[in-house]
Amino acid sequence: MLSKAQIEEAMQNAGLAVELPSPIPTHTPFTDLGLDSLDIYNVFVELEVLTGIQVPDNDVEGLQTIDSIHDYFAAKG
């Protein structure tokens, strides 16, 4: 199962142009953290590298916080 710490680490590894707070608030939408669409692509690339799970485009739209990503991967088992 993917932990919130692993999601945060994936964000740190995603080469984001914005300075992220530490720890990253888990309920704050990525756009409020200053991430743009390409940053979010990068986060999901890191998550796929980590889990081997491809997240469909339609699902990404609803996954805009660490909490929601955590819940999504938890449901995937």
């Binding site: 743009d36 390409l38 692509y41 990068n42 999901f44 690339v45």
Partner: protein, 308 residues
């Protein structure tokens, strides 16, 4: 051994201010510079055909190298936006416009951003098999023909350009055995539909970020090289974000991945030869890894080595 002798580039004089265009789509200048990587997108004139871009590139090649037009005996045009509807093939039109003699093998190759790397091995193999002596590999794929100016996803990325690469025996740069790959299940992610270019930006980005680094690693391994043995990585300039996503997988040599598309944009199969024309004569550069990836989905990588 057949290799690369010289490369010439033709860039149309017209261009679009991409910062202005980005603002119209609600994008900041910072986004255009740091994520797209191009503040200017070159555009062919309305009256220019693909073959005109190709002819201009070959004329630039003959003007800048020792190659004479009458020495050319093989002509390959990499394009998916040919003259007219692609029948006849653009290479034949280029042969005629350049006034080349009839003993020229001329044909098109339908590939996008991987086309230059594929084209090198196609032309090299043809020349080796047939004994042809002076081959010219042209890239000319003006996406402005199929861009929808209202489409934010594609309009901010692509520029027009053409390049011409002279292959001959005893050339300065040797072309290594390439790794070539295809995943047609992703074909719908970048395609022309009803005359309009459509792109699933996330899927194309994922493809580049996840499939290209393993191929580069496999090539290095096949050649028994470490990442540090490559002086310059000239990979397809899809966007600044894509170059960054690929290069991030090579932390120790990340700064050797060239990003140089500010004045042109993504010129499809021309991005790699444009980079080569700028970097292959730099002092201290003797081994270059090239990688092209995109439409198909298709990806290809090879290593060029300078003869000592």
């Amino acid at each position: 051994m057949i290799g690369i002798n010289s490369i010439a580039v033709y860039l149309p004089t017209e261009s679009i201010d991409n910062v202005e265009q980005g603002a119209a789509f609600g994008e900041t200048e910072d986004f255009i510079r740091r994520k797209i990587g191009a503040t200017k997108l070159t555009r062919k004139a309305e009256t220019q055909e693909t073959s005109d871009l190709a002819v201009a590139a070959v004329e630039a090649l003959t003007a800048s190298s020792g190659l004479r037009a009458d020495q050319i005996d093989a002509l390959v045009v990499v394009t998916q936006n040919p003259d007219g509807s692609g029948l006849p093939h653009t290479a034949a039109i280029v042969q005629s416009k350049l006034g080349l003699n009839e003993n020229v093998a001329a044909f098109d190759v339908s590939l996008g951003c991987s086309g230059f790397v594929y084209g090198l091995s196609i032309l090299k193999g043809l020349m080796r098999e047939t004994g042809l002596e002076n081959g010219v590999l042209i890239t000319a794929d003006p996406y402005s023909k199929v861009l929808d100016p209202e489409d934010r996803v594609t309009s901010l990325l692509f520029g027009d350009a053409a390049t011409a690469t002279w292959l001959s025996a005893d050339a300065a740069w040797q072309i290594g055995k390439p790794l070539l790959a295809t995943d047609g299940s992703g074909a719908d992610n970048l395609r022309v539909c009803g005359g309009r270019l459509e792109m699933n930006g996330r899927q194309v980005f994922n493809f580049a970020a996840l499939r290209v680094p393993p191929q580069i690693n496999a090539l290095l391994q096949a050649e028994n090289l470490d990442p540090e043995d490559i002086d310059v990585y000239c990979i397809h300039q899809g966007s600044a974000a894509i170059v960054d996503a690929v290069s991030r997988r090579f932390r120790t040599v990340k700064d050797r991945f060239i990003l140089d598309m500010d004045e042109t944009g993504n010129t499809v199969s021309s991005t790699v030869p444009i980079l080569l024309s700028r970097f292959m004569d730099k002092p201290g550069v003797s081994r270059i890894l090239i990688s092209g990836f995109g439409v198909g989905l298709s990806w290809a990588s090879s290593i060029l080595t300078k003869r000592t």
